[in-house]
């Protein structure tokens, strides 16, 4: 069967709401409007306005409210219309949600999923195209999930909601409408995907392509291109940035001896930086070439289409750099 990422997220939330009455949804336009991107479609009709709460446009207020509700044992799923707006609430995410369990010696927990689209969409300019993956992956106390396809979206969303601690769930707007094959197993209401495990999307022996979210698709395409040129690329979908599956990455590098990390966010202290550092720590002796990072260009996102295109990594970039590390 095929399923869109939108339906995967929607069905996962619906099932978890069915399963646990403490789960509720809140955010801007999640109810009557059915979600700005229709991810919460039908949920207010099914579960009522008590459990699907439209909030005013006050991110700090409702994120803090979710923390209090979480403290009391409820399980809020908070939609940020995009993660750009979560910057207004980031103090609650970091200082309240992530740190309280530790500060309270394990007595107060905060089981929240903060979700919404992250990173570049298309034609939305500098203020609304930022990738926050690296920021959140740096924060102990959080788990950070970055699904790619429908299988990821369903299994990881269900795991995120069931996790008793705060989870940042970074979606990609441009993937919502995309259809992916989904396994029968993943369609079961009881299926959850493990948090902290990467997935090999395509095994290969010559070079490892590591990425997350939308860029996994670009890596898959690049791998096909590379295959035509006789390069057998392994594609790894990280799925989770915290905990980060270092072992999976290192194991792949031990096999391929070459790795390219692909992300849409900015380079400095990005996800690629972490993986480069981590590979050096875990598999330095196996590297036949330096770890290469492919990233968004280190500038605010321009609006004009021609420049926006130049600001983001493309399949051709991945192919080119992969060939470089293979010295071809």
């Amino acid at each position: 069967t095929m399923m869109t990422v939108r339906d995967a997220l929607n069905s996962a939330m619906a099932e978890e709401m069915e399963r646990d009455q403490k789960v509720f949804i809140m955010g801007e336009e999640v109810g009557d409007y059915q979600g700005a991107y229709k991810i919460t479609k039908g949920l207010i009709q099914r579960f009522g306005p008590e459990r699907v709460r439209d909030t005013p446009i006050t991110e700090a207020g409702f994120a803090g409210l979710a923390c209090g509700a979480g403290f009391m044992g409820l399980k809020p799923v908070v939609e940020f219309m995009t993660f750009n707006f979560a910057m207004q609430a980031i103090d609650h995410i970091v200082n309240t949600a992530a740190k309280t369990l530790y500060m309270s010696a394990g007595t107060i927990s905060c089981p929240i999923v903060f979700r919404g689209p992250n990173g570049a969409a298309a034609g939305v300019g500098a203020q609304h195209s930022q990738c926050f993956a690296a920021w959140y992956m740096s924060i102990p106390g959080l788990k950070v999930v970055v699904p790619y396809d429908a299988e990821d979206a369903r299994g990881l969303m269900k795991a995120a909601i069931r996790d008793p601690d705060p989870v940042i769930f970074l979606e990609n707007e441009l993937l919502y409408g995309e259809s992916f094959p989904i396994s029968k197993e993943a369609l079961s209401p009881e299926h959850v995907a493990p948090l902290g495990k990467a997935l090999v999307m395509r095994p290969g022996s010559d070079v490892t392509l590591v990425s997350f979210s939308k860029m996994v698709g670009e890596c898959k395409k690049a791998a096909e291109e590379l295959a035509k040129e006789g390069i057998d690329a392994e594609v790894i979908n990280l799925r989770c940035l915290r905990p980060l599956d270092r072992d999976a990455i290192a194991a792949s590098v031990r096999k391929t001896n070459r790795i390219v990390v692909v992300e849409e966010g900015w380079p400095q202290a990005g996800v690629g930086a972490e993986i480069a550092a981590m590979v050096m720590e875990d598999a330095f002796d196996h590297l036949d070439a330096p770890v290469e990072r492919i990233t968004g260009v280190d500038i605010p996102m321009p609006y004009a289409k021609n420049l926006e295109d130049l600001a983001l990594p493309k399949v051709a970039d991945i192919v080119r750099v992969a060939k470089r590390v293979c010295y071809k």
């Binding site: 801007e28 336009e29 009557d32 409007y33 059915q34 700005a36 991107y37 229709k38 439209d54 005013p56 446009i57 006050t58 991110e59 700090a60 207020g61 219309m81 995009t82 750009n84 707006f85 207004q88 969409a121 298309a122 034609g123 939305v124 300019g125 500098a126 203020q127 609304h128 441009l174 409408g177 380079p267 400095q268 330096p290 290469e292 990072r293 492919i294 990233t295 968004g296 260009v297 280190d298 500038i299 605010p300 321009p302 609006y303 004009a304 289409k305 021609n306 420049l307 130049l310 600001a311 983001l312 990594p313 493309k314 970039d317 080119r320 750099v321 470089r324």
Partner: protein, 386 residues
């Protein structure tokens, strides 16, 4: 020439201004001309959007509907032209994504608007900002401070304009200028905490700051009753004076802004204006606005209250121009818009070298990384003199 505005001002902690507005033939004709231009420009933008000349989120469920509502300020021309009639270009404005009209009001050209919408080099921001990021520094217009794109969600950041406005006002006071700063925001944005933070500071420091809340009764799909416990936005400053204004009436807006500016410049601190814009059209496809009244009713009210029509009626009633003269104005404005559209389409995309331009002004030691490690640009070499 004195004209009475039909709907009285409602005041909070202040005596309201008179309903009788001093104006002139020239002013009314100019307001009509301007607002007619704005209306035509927005209609043209809508057509361009549908023709995919303007970037947007066509894959969204309701992208188009949103785009229309975001761009069609059938209820906003009055605020723009009324405001400009009471301000000068040394007064500062910071506004929301509906910044095209404001840009025109500040003296920007239709081409600047059109080309920016299409991401072209002749745009107000040379194609870098996008439809919701137009600026005109020389007229103290500090932008549609938020976001770009005719799409459902990321068009703009409702929260961040009021503190910026307070900063503009701070600069007026610091430099001892006889000017005000205007910070515009929607009813949805009116619940953001920063608004209260900035207003408290402005009140403590007596900053010459005018908050203009454009209440169109919805923020996206959310009616004000669902987003605000107290939807009397002119009172939301609590201890700060406020005024409710018919935001469809350019003369009322002018009177209110004039009054507010005098208040501010005399050192009495900030003031909150609520522009009631009686939202006649749907904010989006999912707006229930059309379910609780008939099309006829809406059309009827629109004919009564539409800001452009109202100005036309004023001209006719007071016999300021004859029909032929009005038609001539309309024709001229339509031509301006047509030309702007054509020029915008003809305008080239920004050159590739602009990609890394204007990130820093002092570029020493700044090396911008491209998509991979081999792509590096030393900014001083590329753009600067050492």
């Amino acid at each position: 020439m004195m004209i009475d505005v039909p709907i009285p001002f409602v005041a909070h902690r202040i005596d309201p201004p008179s309903q009788t507005v001093e104006t002139s033939k020239a002013e009314i004709v100019d307001m009509f001309t301007q607002s007619y231009l704005m209306r035509r420009l927005e209609i043209a933008a809508d057509v361009l959007y549908k023709g995919k000349f303007i970037r947007g989120f066509c894959h969204l469920y309701d992208g188009q509907a949103r785009s229309i509502s975001h761009w069609s300020p059938y209820d906003r021309e009055a605020v723009c032209v009324g405001m400009e009639a009471a301000l000068n270009k040394d007064d500062a404005i910071v506004t929301s994504y509906r910044d095209h009209c404001t840009h025109l009001g500040r003296g920007g050209t239709p081409l600047e608007v059109m080309a920016e919408l299409m991401g072209r080099i002749d745009g107000a921001s040379k194609g870098m900002g996008g439809s919701m990021h137009m600026y005109k520094r020389d007229a103290h217009f500090f932008g549609g401070n938020g976001i770009v794109g005719a799409q459902a969600s990321s068009d703009w950041s409702p929260y961040d304009r009021t503190p910026i406005g307070a900063g503009l006002a701070f600069a007026m006071q610091y430099e001892k200028k006889p000017n005000v700063a205007v910070a515009m925001y929607g009813d949805g944005a009116a619940n953001q905490g920063q608004l209260f933070e900035a207003l408290n500071i402005a009140a403590l420091w007596d900053l010459p700051l005018i908050y203009v809340c454009e209440n169109n009764h919805y923020g996206m799909g959310t009616a004000i009753a669902k987003s605000a416990k107290s939807p009397e936005y002119f009172k939301r400053g609590d201890y700060v004076p406020g005024l409710k204004v018919d935001g469809m009436d350019a003369l009322a807006v002018k009177q209110a802004i004039k009054f507010a500016k005098e208040h501010c410049v005399s050192g009495k601190g900030p003031i909150v204006l609520e522009m009631d814009t009686y939202r006649y059209h749907g904010h989006s496809m999912s707006d229930p606005g059309s379910t609780y009244r008939t099309r006829d009713e809406i059309t009827g009210i629109r004919q009564e209250r539409d800001p452009v029509e109202r100005l036309r009626k004023l001209i006719v009633e007071h016999e300021l121009l004859d029909t032929a003269e009005i038609k001539a104005i309309e024709k001229a404005q339509r031509k301006i818009v047509d030309e702007a559209v054509a020029a915008g389409k003809a305008s080239p995309e920004p050159p590739v070298e602009n990609l890394m331009k204007n990130m820093n002004q002092i570029m020493d030691n700044v090396v911008v990384r491209g998509v991979d490690s081999e792509a590096r640009t030393h900014l001083t070499e590329a753009y600067g003199v050492k």
